[in-house]
Symmetry: C2
Subunit: 355 residues, 2 copies
């Protein structure tokens, strides 16, 4: 048995957090005999500085040739004045498109020990356990666009929001499959009272639902969903939505969860998938050794689960993170009086010891 993992540290704290996650992966590898090997590649601003492009072909090729990609974070003020087409975030969009990463899974599950970190009242957050399934390579993100044209005597710009039946069908199936393994509830989010694309979305999801009689389907308008996530987030199991609505709602849901530094994500492709924490590259604290690596560590656990089907190893990591928190360890972003402060290196060690 052997698996090839491509590691893309990226920019800012990317190196520290991926180093930490790899250390944890090596620990489970030792225990479960997984045979993991790592190839490091550049992307983002760092790649732009070295090669003049945020996403070298070589990085794409390495990803395609591997069993899973562990991604840190990209971006930073440093590249604010770079040509928009070459900015760090183009690496993310490029990887999504080139690897066909059609679904972004964002679990928001609040550990009891972390309930108090949510801006919401603890009684609303306790027990939250939802997954957002966001379509990732369609919609208005990748539709035709026009930066500037004359129209009715004025300058205008436009972007085409669009979805095809096969695109919606694929993401809906993934959502229903996900719900089947969870609490059996799918909430599909759209704006069908205004958008034609949403009406196609809604009727396609309804069709997929017919094959899943044991899963309950609800439709919610995006504005209402933005409300409900703040009013009663425990009502949700699986939320499925398009690229743009997913971008907004998954960030809102992450905040509800409380500790952004803890949140992992998986971007599922047809062959290779990519795993990354949801937080950014935090250039202000880069290199200080104080970044919270747990979002990346939990992303590595998702890699083990979804790409390598090594469920036991995935669970071992998740349990170790829970245990570290329950034992009172907190990275600086989460630290409060009465807890044990642990920097990046220390929390990594604490987690490894619990595996």
């Amino acid at each position: 048995m052997s698996y090839k993992i491509t590691v893309i540290p990226g920019d800012g704290i990317g190196k520290e957090i991926t180093d930490s996650a790899v250390e944890v992966l090596e620990k489970v590898d030792e225990k479960f005999g997984l045979g993991l090997s790592y190839t490091y590649k550049d992307a983002g601003g760092t790649a732009y500085d070295k090669f003049g492009t945020p996403l070298p072909d070589d990085t794409i090729e390495a990803c395609k040739a591997s069993d899973g990609v562990l991604f840190g974070a990209v971006g930073g003020d440093k590249w604010d004045n770079v040509d928009p087409a070459l900015r760090p975030e183009k690496a993310i969009l490029g990887l999504r498109k080139n690897l066909g990463l059609y679904a972004n899974l964002r679990p928001v599950k609040v550990a009891d020990a972390l309930v108090e970190y949510s801006p919401l009242k603890p009684e609303l957050v306790k027990g939250v356990d939802l997954v957002i399934v966001r379509e990732l390579i369609g919609g208005i993100y990748f539709g035709d666009k026009c930066e500037s044209e004359q129209h009715n005597g004025a300058e205008r710009a436009w972007d085409l929001e669009n979805y095809s039946v096969p695109e919606v069908d694929r993401i809906a199936k993934l959502a229903f499959e996900t719900a089947k393994l969870r609490r059996g509830k799918v909430t599909s989010v759209d704006k069908a009272n205004v958008l034609a694309t949403s009406r196609l979305w809604r009727r396609t999801v309804a069709k997929v639902a017919e094959s899943y009689p044991d899963v309950e389907l609800n439709n919610l308008y995006v504005d209402n969903c933005a409300m409900q996530l703040a009013i009663r987030p425990t009502q949700f199991d699986v939320i499925v939505t398009g690229n743009l609505f997913g971008d907004i709602l998954s960030d809102e849901a992450a905040v509800v969860g409380g500790s952004i530094g803890m949140m992992p994500s998986a971007s599922i492709g047809t062959s290779t998938s990519l795993y990354e924490p949801i937080h950014g590259s935090a250039p202000d604290i880069a290199g200080k050794g104080i970044a919270n690596p747990m979002g990346t560590i939990l992303s590595a656990a998702m890699l083990l689960r979804y790409s390598l089907h090594e469920e036991a190893a995935a669970k071992a990591i998740e349990a170790a993170v829970d245990k570290a928190l329950a034992d009172g360890y907190r990275t600086p972003d989460l630290w409060k009086e009465g807890f044990q402060k642990a920097n990046t290196e220390e929390i990594t060690k604490v987690i490894c010891e619990r595996i």
Copy 2:
């Protein structure tokens, strides 16, 4: 002096809440000698049932001929199976388009007495005082759309997101003018890292900003704004954004504010403007006399302020509502042990007595 107000009760609780607001308007009229007169018109499901259309021409004409429109709410399950083009919410979209209601203003100001009703922790909500300025007759809401077509061998649907420079210019100016009278801070929300429309939006807003040296401008991506509204809502003064992002963010902001039943809105037109509470028609409690009319009453205050320039009368209403709350009166949606429960009629009386 005399002013003509068109009242559109609409569906569900619409009649009760507009009756209540008109009672309060009559009270300030008595006190300030405004010379208000009222014309009642139908819209929404009620209009559909009577006339076969949710928005009779007669209603549009009456609105155009008046100095301001007071709107209740429309919609209800009853009309779920009506042809989409004739559903109650088409009345809202039709009024926006026909009256040229280009800007929706949604103040979110949390009275100290109501801080505890927010799902957010009280310390995050105390002092929130922001306004969302949403563009209301452009963007993807009114762009070309296609319900179904064949494209690359599959069925797809599409909607065109688009903004012209004059559209953005107009809404941006309103936002800066609004900020000048407040704390001098505008946050423009877009998705300029992905959408061409957002890039035009951002450069047009930047241009408008040059004429307002005393107002500070910040740009925020919509996903980040969805987070910040939940993390630290007090950071915002005026938020300006497009139609779709505004729909989502203003509902999220309303929830943060806590008591949806209290929130007013103004939809500003080039000649007539329209005022309505942000909550829906609540068919489940319609006719029971227990609806919270305060969102409508505060909308009537906005009508006095923006359409009639009767600032003193507007302030008198707002002060009376604050006083009613401070004196411990609560409608059923807000009632808790230790407070005085007041139904629609009772709270209206309590507010009138305080004018």
